[in-house]
Each structure stands twice: as structure tokens, then as C-alpha cells.
């Protein structure tokens, strides 16, 4: 047997290759570090995270926590992070609702509805997100009329429009009483509480008086009770086969308990409606147009992708499953709830999570319209003021990476739990 040269042994080779890779990475790292030191020294920037405790000295247009110009860059980071999370969470909620609706509409037996949903998906998916954000912001929201010509979002404008329509029809013999009654209805409904103008979306503000804590506590209690009840009902059903009307009970609990507390505590929560006075609105709260544009674009854009995910998921459930369930005598609602949806969800959830992650990452486009998210106030303004580029970009990237990794971890656990057990 001929002896193989030592450099041809797979073990030695793999060791050499790996050493080469590690050496290259280390070489790059060292080179980067040396260059970074030289460049930082040349620019007089001191590496380190001490700058986080310096006062920021700039204002932020929207903040969920108390913030003033005297606060530190650390506080700026938290404000930005919370704003990113706010727009992401709301975006996820709206995108999911819209996406499921459009995805199911695409599967509708109604030809026109399916085509309309398909057209929406094609149009929205094929335009860049940043294009859509700028479109909503520049061409729609900023271009709206000023406060005095605000657009009211409510039932009254529709009722008044209907009344106008009927008044116009009076020349064709439609009795005037109809238009009158629509106008009366409009008066009864009252002016809308939500207004849209070039300064943003003006909405009523909830005022929490004394005793609103009781309402919140009752709501929490109802949720806890519902979870416990569901657990108990499932165990009883597994043991005895008897079903419990869990949905109705849960509804009664979640609505009933806080409502009772609301009355007992003497209606502590009230709403302050915005009123136009002079050139602007008084009262209520204002949602920035930057936020509205970003939220609108993120939700509608992601919804198009979610619609495709939902469609694929529902199509992945074989028709035989529905037919078998029908043959067992289940009603249509139960077929959907017990047979189709659980199987479709197994296909839908992983790509859906991916879309949620995309939405969170895409929320960083906020910087293009000036919504104060993490990238805008931290990787933007803070970086420009402090020049601590390495630290700031590393922190920003780490935040997004952490969110992504945590989500993939949760996803892997979910996949392992719902995987089909095959023998």
C-alpha cells in the first residue's frame, strides 16, 4: 500500500483550510482596528460609549416617554426604539388584518373581487416601499388642506352627502322628506371626531379620571380568567367529551367585567373631542403626518405580501380535508375553524413571521420622511452631532439583529412544536 502524502490527508487539509479562513478574518479585523485607531486619532474622536451620557440638545417631535432637550443620548436611543416599536406593532396589526382580507378575497369564487384583490397585490408589490412612503407623505398627506378645511372622518359627511343626493333627486319627484330625514340623522350623529389635515390626523383624546385603574384591573382579570377557563374547558373536553361555550363566556367576561367596573367607578374615562377654534384645533391629540404616512405605507405594502402568504397557505390544505370534514357532518364554520385553519396556519405562520420581521426592518425608512424612529434620531441626528459612527451604527445594527434573532428562535420552537409527526 502506498503511503499518502501528509498534505493529502483530509484531516490535515481541513485544518489548513480552516486556519486560513480564521487567519484571514483575524487579519482583516486587526487591519480594521489599526486603521480605525489611526482615523479616529486623526479626527480627534474618542472611541467609547461615554457619549451616551452627554446631553442631546435637540428636540424630538414625537415621544412615548418624557423627553426634553436636556436629556441624554441614552434617552434619545430609548425614544427612537419605542417609536420604532410603536409604528412596527401598529403596522403589524393593520397589515395582518388587511393582508388576510385581501388574501381571502383573492381566493373568492367571485371573479371580480378576486381580480381586484389580485390587481392590488400586483400594483403594491411592484412599487418600491420608499416610493410609496414618499407618495403618501408628499403627494397625499402634506398636500391636504389646512386645518380650516379639514376633512372630517366620520359618519356625518356620508349622511350629508346622501342627503345632498336625495335633494338633487327631488326634481324627479322624490319627496323632500327623505333628504330632510337624512339631514336629521346627520344632525343627530353630530360632527365627526376625527379630522385629517396637512398637520396630521386629529383624534379625540381619552381622559383617564380617578378609578380608571379599576377598569384596567378588571380587564386584566377578565383576560386571566378567560385563559384559565379555556385551559379548564379543554381538559374537561379531553376527559369527558363535553364542550363548553368558551367564546360566549369569554366575550361576556372581557366586555362585562370592565363595563361593570366602569359604571361602579362612576364613568372615569371620558373623551375630549377636538374643536376647530380660529386657525387650529383645540383639544384632542394629533398624530404626525410622518407617522401616518409611514404607517399607511408599511401596512398596505406588507399586506400585499401577507395576502400572498395567506393565499398559499389556504391553497396548501388539500380539498379532501374539507370534504372529509363535511362527510363527518361538521358544519361549515366548524370545518373552517377545526380543520382548514389549523392546517393552513402551519404553512402560513413561518413566512408570516418573516413578513413581520421585514416590516420591522422596513420601519427604518422613517428617516426619509423625518419620523423620529431609531435610525432617524439615533443613527441620524445623534451620529451627526457626536461623530461616534462606529459605536452608534453597531448599536443600531445590534438592536435589529437582536429582534431578528429572537424572532427566528421563537419561530424554530414553533416549527418544532407544530411539525407533522410522521412515523
Amino acid at each position: 500500500m502506498t503511503k499518502v502524502a501528509f498534505y493529502n490527508s483530509p484531516k490535515v487539509r481541513s485544518a489548513i483550510y480552516q486556519l486560513a479562513v480564521v487567519a484571514t478574518i483575524i487579519w482583516f479585523g486587526v487591519e480594521f482596528a489599526i486603521n480605525a485607531k489611526a482615523n479616529l486619532d486623526a479626527q480627534g474622536v474618542r472611541f467609547g460609549f461615554r457619549f451616551l451620557d452627554d446631553p442631546a440638545g435637540f428636540g424630538i417631535s414625537q415621544s412615548l416617554i418624557a423627553y426634553s432637550e436636556q436629556d441624554t443620548y441614552r434617552r434619545v436611543f430609548y425614544v427612537g426604539l419605542l417609536n420604532t416599536l410603536l409604528v412596527s406593532v401598529l403596522g403589524i396589526v393593520f397589515a395582518t388584518i388587511l393582508g388576510f382580507a385581501i388574501g381571502l378575497a383573492r381566493l373568492s369564487p367571485n371573479w371580480l373581487l378576486a381580480r381586484l384583490a389580485g390587481g392590488y397585490v400586483e400594483l403594491v408589490r411592484n412599487l418600491p416601499l420608499l416610493f410609496q412612503i414618499l407618495f403618501w407623505y408628499l403627494a397625499v398627506l402634506i398636500a391636504l388642506p389646512g386645518p380650516r378645511q379639514s376633512i372630517g372622518l366620520g359618519v356625518q359627511p356620508f349622511l350629508l352627502a346622501a342627503a345632498d343626493g336625495f335633494s338633487w333627486l327631488e326634481r324627479y319627484g322624490v319627496p323632500a322628506a327623505i333628504a330632510q330625514s337624512w339631514r336629521g340623522l346627520a344632525d343627530w350623529v353630530g360632527p365627526p371626531a376625527i379630522y385629517l389635515n396637512n398637520r396630521g390626523l386629529i383624534m379625540p383624546r381619552a381622559l383617564f379620571g380617578e378609578g380608571s385603574g379599576l377598569v384596567a384591573a378588571m380587564l386584566a382579570l377578565a383576560v386571566v380568567l378567560t385563559i384559565g377557563l379555556r385551559f379548564w374547558a379543554r381538559r374537561r373536553q379531553d376527559a369527558t367529551g363535553r364542550q363548553f361555550p368558551i367564546f360566549l363566556t369569554a366575550l361576556a367576561l372581557v366586555v362585562g367585567l370592565p363595563a361593570a367596573a366602569f359604571l361602579v367607578a362612576g364613568t372615569p374615562v371620558s373623551f375630549e373631542a377636538p374643536v376647530l377654534r380660529g386657525f387650529n384645533f383645540v383639544g384632542g391629540t394629533r398624530v404626525l403626518p410622518e407617522f401616518t404616512a409611514l404607517l399607511l405605507a408599511l401596512s398596505t405594502y406588507t399586506a400585499a405580501f401577507i395576502a400572498e402568504v395567506v393565499r398559499a397557505g389556504v391553497l396548501a390544505v388539500p380539498k379532501g380535508q374539507t370534504e372529509a370534514a363535511m362527510a363527518l357532518g361538521l358544519r361549515r364554520g366548524k370545518v373552517l375553524r377545526l380543520i382548514v385553519v389549523p392546517q393552513a396556519l402551519r404553512v402560513i405562520i413561518p413566512p408570516l413571521t418573516n413578513q413581520y420581521l421585514n416590516l420591522i426592518k422596513n420601519s427604518s425608512l422613517a428617516v426619509a420622511v423625518g419620523y423620529p424612529d431609531l435610525v432617524a434620531v439615533f443613527a441620524g441626528t445623534t451620529l451627526n452631532q457626536t461623530h461616534q459612527a462606529i459605536e452608534i451604527i453597531a448599536i443600531t445594527m445590534a438592536v435589529y439583529l437582536l429582534i431578528s434573532l429572537a424572532t427566528s428562535l421563537a419561530m424554530n420552537i414553533y416549527n418544532a412544536r407544530t411539525r407533522l409527526t410522521e412515523r
Partner: protein, 377 residues
């Protein structure tokens, strides 16, 4: 004795069942089958009419087609409600397409486009022969040629700084560089991720997951603000080049995941057969595995190219003026400030973005169908 009952009259024949073919049946089944479906049809028709009619009016019927300044697009001058102000697009067309590329040098950009299209089209049509030569020309020679033509400084062509590039030119340069750069890098990363050498595998996994876990905008910030710190001071990297590095690294991570899908779809037998023939790792990959794997993932690749094309718009945030960036800059021009300028600009850019993305997605769908029929034997 038994009772008899005999019918004395014939029963009238039943009407034939309603046909389930033809137009009326189709209308009944797909549009007006029941109250719910009819309501859905009417509502959809309403939505369609309310979106298509105003769009058509804006783009064609009410549009202003000729003019030289903003006054030609004002409702007071025209004497009717105005739609799109196309003279605005005509006036800014060169800026949208080439940025501030010198007008007498624009032929170089056009020549690059022409060569690119001439090489790309035969590559996309499956029936055209000489795929290998074509691919080498497109992926190997064309980038060098395009670089020489666009940057200049050689063959007597005057040098054009990338600062003056803009509009569609920058959009296409970034997309194309992203594609060309991310393909080899992505394939290497995918191979590394499947490697049996743990250190190689873990470095590749880390690289891929980090780039995929962060938004592109932070990558662009990284490339623009952080990268210069890491390079020797003497390297004065061009702003566009920095952005290109960021885009290539980012796209490579996504490409790696697409290619990995293809590698995993190749049956083990192929690897074993190649080994049995005595091929080493690289020969096995290059001659046996990658040709099959890459063919499988063409649709996935085209989809990530679409994503890349749409993502190029983000460069405007780091002050590189692509098509959307030039559009935004043009909005600021007071000479064209009219109530319809914004909508006109968005309509124009939107049509370009839509046409290119839509064409690419149709091509992905077409290759997918072609590949599907190939597999089902």
C-alpha cells in the same frame, strides 16, 4: 283483491336544468351567485370605477401635453381642471435618466444600455444557443466595458465623476452591480454554509445572519459612515463605490440563502455519484451540483433581484440621487411648482418602477413554469 292505482295522465316534462356552461352560467356562478356575491361584485365594480376613471382622467384626458413652464399647467391658464403636467417630465427627463451626466457625453450611457440589452435579451430566451459565451460576455466582459464607458478616463474618454451621475443611471448601476457582485459571493457563502469544516461554516452562517438581520438602511449607513474608518486614510473611496460595497454585501447574504435552497434540493445521490467518479470538492460542485442547483433557483434569484431593484431607492437617504432622489430634487424646483407636479412625478416614476419589477416577476413566473414541467416526468 288488491288496490291498483294507475296514472291516467303523463306528468309534464321537467324543465331542463340551467346550463352550467356559457356566458350566462359564468355570470351566474362567478359574479351574481346569491346576495353576498352580487354585493361583492357591485362593491368591487364601484371601487374599480372610482380608482380607474380618475386615474385615466388624470393621466390622459385632463393631462397637459405641451408647454414650457409651470404656467402652462395651471388650471387658470388652461381654463379647465388639469391632470398630469407632462411638460414637467419632458423638461426634467434628462435629469431623471442621467442625473447631471454631461449632455455631450450621454451617448456613452446610451451605448452602455444598448450593449447591455443586446447581451441580456439572448440570455433570457431559453432557445437562443451559445449560452455559455453569452453569460461570460454579460457577467464578465460587460461590467468592465460599462465601467470604462461610464467612468471614462481611458481610450480618450473624458472622466465623469460619479457625483454627476444620477437618476435611472444610478438605479441601474446599483441594481446591476448588486446582481453581478452578489452572485459569486452568494454562491461562495452558500457553499461555505453547507461546508463540513466547522469554522468555515460558522463564519458563513454568522455573515449571512448578520446581514439578513439588519435593515438595508443601516447597511448603507455602515458603508457610508463606518467603513471609511476601517480603511487606510489614503483610500479615498467614492461615495457611490461605498454604497455599492454595502449593497453587494447585503444582496450576497440574501443570494446565499436562495442558492442554499437549490443545494438542498439536489439529491444526495448526485453528490455520491460525483465522488464515486473521483471528482474532488470543487470539480464536484462546478460540474455536477451547481449547474443543477442554480437552474432550480432561477425564479428565486429573479425575485431577489426584484427586491434589490426596489431597494436601490434607499440610497437617496445617504445622498446618492437615483431616480426617486432626482424626482424629489425636481419637486423642489420653483419653476415647476404647480398643484399637479407631485402627482405627475410620482405617476411617471411609478410607471417605470412598476414596468421593470412587473416584467421581472413575470419572467420569474415563466421560468418557474418551464422548470416545473421539466421536473414532472
Amino acid at each position: 283483491m288488491s288496490a291498483h292505482f294507475v296514472r291516467s295522465q303523463l306528468i309534464a316534462p321537467q324543465e331542463s336544468p340551467r346550463s352550467d356552461t356559457g356566458l350566462s352560467a359564468w355570470l351566474r356562478q362567478r359574479l351574481f351567485g346569491g346576495v353576498l356575491s352580487t354585493t361583492a361584485t357591485l362593491l368591487s365594480a364601484l371601487v374599480l370605477a372610482a380608482s380607474i376613471w380618475p386615474t385615466l382622467r388624470f393621466l390622459l384626458i385632463d393631462a397637459v401635453w405641451q408647454g414650457t413652464s409651470r404656467t402652462d399647467c395651471l388650471a387658470e391658464t388652461v381654463g379647465r381642471p388639469v391632470g398630469a403636467c407632462w411638460p414637467f417630465v419632458q423638461a426634467k427627463f434628462a435629469q431623471f435618466m442621467y442625473g447631471f451626466y454631461p449632455a455631450d457625453q450621454v451617448w456613452r450611457v446610451n451605448l452602455t444600455y444598448a450593449i447591455g440589452v443586446a447581451l441580456l435579451v439572448p440570455l433570457l430566451i431559453p432557445r437562443v444557443p451559445y449560452k455559455r459565451v453569452n453569460a461570460v460576455l454579460f457577467f464578465g466582459v460587460f461590467p468592465l466595458l460599462a465601467f470604462c464607458l461610464l467612468v471614462g478616463g481611458v481610450f480618450g474618454l473624458p472622466h465623469v465623476e460619479t457625483r454627476r451621475w444620477g437618476g435611472m443611471l444610478v438605479t441601474l448601476v446599483i441594481t446591476f452591480t448588486g446582481i453581478i457582485g452578489s452572485l459569486p459571493l452568494g454562491i461562495l457563502l452558500a457553499l461555505g454554509r453547507q461546508s463540513s469544516l466547522p469554522l468555515v461554516r460558522w463564519s458563513c452562517v454568522t455573515f449571512i445572519e448578520v446581514w439578513r438581520g439588519v435593515p438595508l438602511i443601516t447597511v448603507l449607513f455602515f458603508a457610508t459612515y463606518m467603513l471609511p474608518f476601517f480603511l487606510p486614510e489614503s483610500w479615498k473611496l467614492d461615495p457611490l463605490a461605498r454604497v455599492l460595497i454595502g449593497v453587494v454585501l447585503f444582496a450576497a447574504a440574501y443570494m446565499a440563502e436562495v442558492v442554499r435552497g437549490g443545494l438542498q434540493a439536489i439529491p444526495r445521490g448526485q453528490y455520491e455519484a460525483a465522488r464515486a467518479l473521483g471528482l474532488g470538492y470543487w470539480r464536484m460542485m462546478i460540474f455536477v451540483i451547481l449547474p443543477q442547483a442554480l437552474k432550480l433557483v432561477i425564479p428565486g434569484m429573479v425575485n431577489s433581484f426584484i427586491a434589490l431593484f426596489k431597494d436601490t431607492t434607499l440610497v437617496l437617504i445617504v445622498a446618492i440621487f437615483d431616480l426617486l432622489g432626482q424626482l424629489r430634487a425636481a419637486f423642489a424646483d420653483p419653476n415647476w411648482a404647480t398643484p399637479v407636479t407631485l402627482l405627475t412625478g410620482f405617476a411617471f416614476a411609478g410607471m417605470i418602477y412598476f414596468a421593470i419589477s412587473f416584467a421581472m416577476s413575470r419572467y420569474a413566473l415563466y421560468t418557474e413554469r418551464r422548470l416545473n414541467t421539466g421536473i414532472a416526468h
